[in-house]
């Protein structure tokens, strides 16, 4: 059954965040990356997890993106069941949250953190067998999170896409995965400076080296 409905070439991005304080940033990451992909002629979709809303301060919440070469047919499959890319707007999410649930082989984990990947890897208890690399970037040092309630529940975000820390996190995703051209992302995000610095500074670590070290 699953194979019958598989959509080859469909990539899924799941961003985990802390409610209220980073909800916009999570939404911005998926919107920025998918809008960039749309500029490149891809079919895209971005949305927030409805059950996670209304978000509460610090509650783990998810935002999703889908990018494909073909028209997306699973547009109302409302959770990303097999993500290719997982990103965290906040580092503590590695602890006690099943962030890698369902990831595809070769998946990439991108974390907003000052800490090294080796340290964070210790906290991830499930799903690492399919994980190819961990990308770290100190997005908080490049841009602040914008806390706003506008844009939630399907409304228009009056504060602008990629104005805050999400621009940096999106850039790290692009650097590690090449899912879109970095130039495309820059056309979308407002905080281009943060995106550029993140693109430059993000560190990609092969999970194999972490497993061997651990």
């Amino acid at each position: 059954m699953t194979n019958l409905f598989e959509e080859p070439g469909l990539k899924q991005i799941t961003v985990w965040a802390r409610g209220v304080y980073e909800n916009k940033e999570a939404r911005d990451v998926v919107v920025a990356v998918t809008e960039a992909a749309a500029l490149e002629g891809k079919f895209v979709q971005a949305w927030e997890n409805y059950v996670d809303l209304p978000d509460r301060i610090y509650v783990p919440v998810r935002a999703y993106g889908k990018i494909s070469d073909q028209e997306i047919e699973s547009k109302y499959v409302y959770e990303n069941e097999t993500p290719d890319i997982v990103a965290l707007t906040e580092e503590t999410l590695v602890k006690g949250v099943d962030i890698l649930a369902g990831i595809k082989p070769g998946a990439v984990l991108v974390i907003n953190t000052k800490r090294p990947a080796e340290y964070l890897f210790k906290f991830i208890k499930k799903g690492t067998e399919n994980l190819a690399s961990i990308v770290t970037v100190d997005a908080n040092s490049l841009a602040k999170s914008i806390i706003t309630l506008s844009g939630a529940e399907g409304a228009t975000d009056a504060s602008g896409i990629g104005k805050g820390m999400g621009a940096a996190l999106a850039a790290a995703i692009v650097k590690a995965t090449g899912i879109v051209q970095f130039e495309s992302l820059l056309k979308i995000v407002e905080n281009k400076n943060a995106a550029k610095k993140a693109f430059e500074k993000a560190q990609v670590v092969d999970v194999k080296t972490l497993v061997n070290a651990g």
């Binding site: 409610g19 209220v20 809303l53 209304p54 509460r56 301060i57 610090y58 509650v59 806390i147 309630l149 506008s150 939630a152 529940e153 409304a155 009056a158």
Partner: protein
């Protein structure tokens, strides 16, 4: 008869609003809920009209109450409580239960009390049911992501009253004064008080007075909301104190028909001290802040405090 709690150290250790709920970190309404439950004790039935304290507390088919709890619609907390009370009265009288008459407490938000719920609330008090109706005021429809309610202050940004070039102050209307609406015109009312989570002992004792009143009692609790008001989650208690110290909220009770101030700030601070920590007011211009100051002065005057606050800078 529930006895007066003399100090925080003498407050009951037992929790009836236990850990494990999906309320915000630093949630004011959750804190007041815990204090109300603690003061009320085990022989209590809670009703939760729709709102944050329904949805956030019962997400995923579970809940944090060690006492019975039932959902009511956002419209009908007062009516459902009336039904429970009438049922217990009749069942006890007709020997259909050997239970003791319970404390019946409605925990309604400002929408479920001052707005869509006011009809059921007023009717329950008119009829004289022996219930305690708590209106926890976080000054917005918070569960749906912060929309204006009748108690949202003038000038506050919400997703239904955003500030913009055409409407620079955000919310243009002055808030309803629910405790005064309740105080005047409900002849069966036995007890009414306002409280704040920042004054926990006062709050718990007002809960007990209300439950001891043997008739309809109304408690209006100021419950700062870090999400909706945009202040850091650790500042909830401080914001609650500032509301009282600036006169934006007044602590009083109406017991036996007379207003009594239960806390009088030693020195009133200007309203600007209160609003500067809250993102929802960050767009306000001096003329808007002045209007808020006048609003606070007026409310203070109504409860017998002459405003001495300096005008906003």
């Amino acid at each position: 008869m529930l006895e007066e709690i003399k100090s925080i150290k003498k407050a009951p250790v037992e929790e009836y609003y236990v850990p494990g709920h999906r309320t915000c970190a630093g949630c004011g309404p959750a804190l007041q809920y815990r204090l109300v439950a603690k003061a009320a004790g085990p022989n209590t039935i809670f009703l939760g009209p729709t709102g944050c304290m329904y949805v956030a507390n019962t997400s995923y088919g579970c809940g944090p109450w060690a006492v019975p709890w039932i959902h009511a619609q956002i419209t009908n907390g007062g009516a459902v409580a009336s039904g429970i009370e009438a049922a217990y009265k009749a069942m006890i009288r007709k020997h259909k239960t050997d239970a003791e008459f319970p404390n019946i407490i409605v925990m309604a938000g400002d929408g479920g009390s001052a707005d869509i719920g006011i009809q059921a609330l007023s009717a329950a008090f008119y009829r004289g049911h022996n219930i305690l109706f708590v209106a926890y005021d976080n000054e917005s429809y918070a569960n749906t992501g912060i929309q204006t309610s009748p108690t949202t202050p003038y000038g506050a940004w919400t997703t239904f009253s955003p500030a913009g070039p055409v409407i620079p102050e955000g919310k243009k209307l002055m808030p309803k004064d629910l405790p005064k609406i309740m105080a005047h015109g409900h002849p069966e009312l036995k007890y009414l008080a306002t409280a704040s989570l920042s004054y926990p002992l006062d709050l718990m004792n007002k809960v007990r007075k209300g439950l001891n009143a043997n008739g309809p009692a109304f408690l209006y609790i100021h419950a700062p909301c870090p999400k909706g008001w945009s202040f850091p989650a650790d500042k909830t208690v401080e914001i609650g104190k500032l509301a009282v110290e600036t006169g934006m909220f007044q602590l009083y009770e109406l017991d036996g028909g007379e207003y009594k101030l239960t806390y009088k700030p030693r020195e009133l601070k200007p309203v600007s001290e209160y609003i500067k920590y809250q993102g929802r007011f960050s767009h306000l211009q001096p003329e808007h802040i002045e209007k808020l100051q006048q609003f606070a002065n007026q409310r203070l005057k109504e409860v017998g405090i002459e405003a001495v606050a300096a005008p906003a800078e």
